[in-house]
């Protein structure tokens, strides 16, 4: 019975949270930029509108353009199911670290393929940049998850995020988990093409990355890509907030024992991530493209430090 309830709650949050997060970010941004902004529920309406629109594709496009959006959506959905991004995620068998990373890569691969397929120079431009970014950011995500896997002694993400390892030793644990949280948050900023790397609100400019790749899509296929984007965002932010919660409960003075608190914290953590993204997008400007590798270097550095700390901890 409790299993059923937890699955039901998970399904509910999987279907509501992603869009709510998008809405929260855009309405907070509007508020802080002295605009009134749309309501938090705007993404729901937008996706509904996209679904009822006519779907057109360019003359150059082949069957790949039809295949890619469902594939992107499917891999994002699988990732959201396999990754324990909420403390009450149902335990799915085989939620391996590398599976999640490759699902991540798969959705990116199909985004790039779809961008190249539509034959527009602008999308090709964005695809090339996305490929470069993904090469640079993947080490950060893999290494930070690996540092957690080293401490847990397993690459099974259910075991890594199991809220059971306080044995490795207080302060070092706090360090490892908080380094991982920071890395995954930075990776999320880069990967979701948010502000310091890419400006999600620019359209039809040569500076953008993600928006230029999907510019040829409209209607139902655009809706699929948008849903996949929201799912990826909530998964990454959820992972970061799970790491932060683990860092919190590893502090010996803070005894957050009851799971109910942790469940509530994991949703608050995701919302806090959204607020942080809105803050970053209000106060920072987009980096020049040649400066982006320097920003990514911070994420990689943090993950390397985390790995070093995990190895020192004698997890192997």
């Amino acid at each position: 019975m409790t299993m059923l309830i937890s699955i039901a709650v998970f399904a509910l949050s999987l279907s509501l949270l992603p869009f709510l997060i998008l809405g929260v970010i855009s309405s907070l941004k509007a508020r802080w930029q002295n605009r009134r902004g749309a309501s938090v529920l705007q993404p729901f309406r937008y996706i509904k509108k996209l679904y009822s629109k006519q779907d057109l594709s360019s003359k150059e496009a082949s069957w790949i353009s039809d295949l890619a959006p469902p594939m992107i959506l499917a891999s994002a959905l699988l990732m959201a199911i396999f990754t324990p991004w909420l403390s009450f995620s149902p335990l799915v068998q085989g939620s391996d670290l590398f599976l999640v990373v490759y699902l991540f890569g798969l959705s990116r691969f199909f985004t790039i393929l779809a961008a190249l397929d539509s034959g527009s120079p602008l999308t090709g431009f964005g695809a090339s940049r996305e490929a470069t970014l993904s090469i640079l950011t993947e080490p950060a995500l893999v290494l930070s998850l690996l540092s957690l896997a080293i401490t847990a002694g397993s690459t099974d993400l259910n075991k890594v995020f199991a809220f059971s390892q306080t044995a490795a030793g207080g302060v070092l644990d706090v360090a490892i988990w908080s380094l991982a949280a920071a890395t995954i948050f930075l990776t999320a900023l880069i990967d979701l093409s948010r502000m310091p790397v890419d400006d999600p609100t620019t359209h039809l400019e040569l500076t953008m990355i993600h928006e230029s790749m999907v510019i040829e899509f409209g209607g139902r296929r655009m809706a699929m890509i948008l849903v996949a984007y929201a799912l990826r965002m909530v998964t990454l932010l959820g992972l970061a907030s799970q790491c932060a919660i683990h860092a919190l409960i590893a502090i010996p003075a803070l005894q957050i024992a009851p799971m109910a608190t942790i469940h509530i914290l994991s949703i608050i953590g995701i919302l806090a991530g959204a607020v942080a993204i809105a803050l970053v997008e209000t106060f920072f400007v987009k980096l020049k493209w040649t400066r982006v590798p320097e920003f990514i270097a911070y994420a990689v550095t943090l993950s390397l430090l985390g790995c070093g700390a995990a190895l020192l901890g004698g997890g192997i």
Partner: protein
């Protein structure tokens, strides 16, 4: 291996030093230097809690007030005055510099293992780590070697000084109070003089790139 609280802060200082070598914005460099020095002060305060000798508390206060706040504000004022806010080109690309700094942290870890044991083992665990001290010295050296503006040279020098301070705290439980304060005064005066010299360089050459100061002029 377990990490004590003061080691946590000492390694935190190194991490901020690594971040410092990851940006060419001089004001961000200064901010990160200030945080790093603040953490060094916190390590000293933690050592006061362990050893219960009041001189460490005063030392922590002076370090935080003079080095973390005073020198950073002075250098920020210098930057505003000469209107230079970023380091032009560096010798080493920024991402590579950051990764070399991590390598240096690794080297420091292995070096620190070979050091002779400090006098009092129980206090040693509370005094930060010699490893962080060595790493800060190495990172400061790298910072001075790869940057070109005069202000960066000063920041690199100050980072090295932090490293030496942390190292003595860990290995010898700090120097006598008078010596420590004398060093602080020296550093303060040194930074003041260097700041004034930076003004003069800017005035006569209209840049503060130290690599171009080799050629003599009429």
């Amino acid at each position: 291996m377990n990490l004590t609280l003061s080691e946590f802060f000492a390694v935190g200082a190194v991490i901020f030093a690594i971040f410092m070598s990851g940006t060419i914005q001089l004001r961000t460099n200064l901010l990160l230097y200030a945080i790093q020095t603040l953490l060094v002060g916190v390590v000293t305060a933690a050592f006061y809690l362990a050893s219960n000798e009041s001189q460490y508390l005063w030392l922590a206060l002076v370090v935080i007030l003079v080095k973390a706040a005073g020198i950073s504000l002075f250098l920020a004022w210098v930057l505003r005055r000469i209107n230079v806010f970023r380091d032009g080109a560096t010798y080493l690309p920024i991402p590579i510099a950051m990764h070399v700094c991590i390598l240096m942290l690794g080297i420091a870890h292995f070096l620190a293992d070979r050091l002779p044991a400090p006098p009092d083992q129980s206090l040693h665990l509370q005094a930060g780590s010699a490893e962080s001290g060595i790493a800060l010295v190495l990172i400061g050296t790298l910072f001075m070697l790869t940057r070109k503006t005069a202000v960066s040279q000063i920041i690199g020098f100050l980072t090295m000084e932090n490293g030496i301070y942390l190292f003595t705290l860990a290995q010898a439980h700090g120097m006598p109070m008078a010596v420590e304060l004398g060093i602080l005064l020296d550093v303060l005066v040194g930074v003041m003089v260097a700041g004034v010299i930076t003004f003069r360089i800017q005035k006569s050459f209209e840049h503060i790139d130290v690599t171009q100061l080799r050629d003599l002029r009429d």
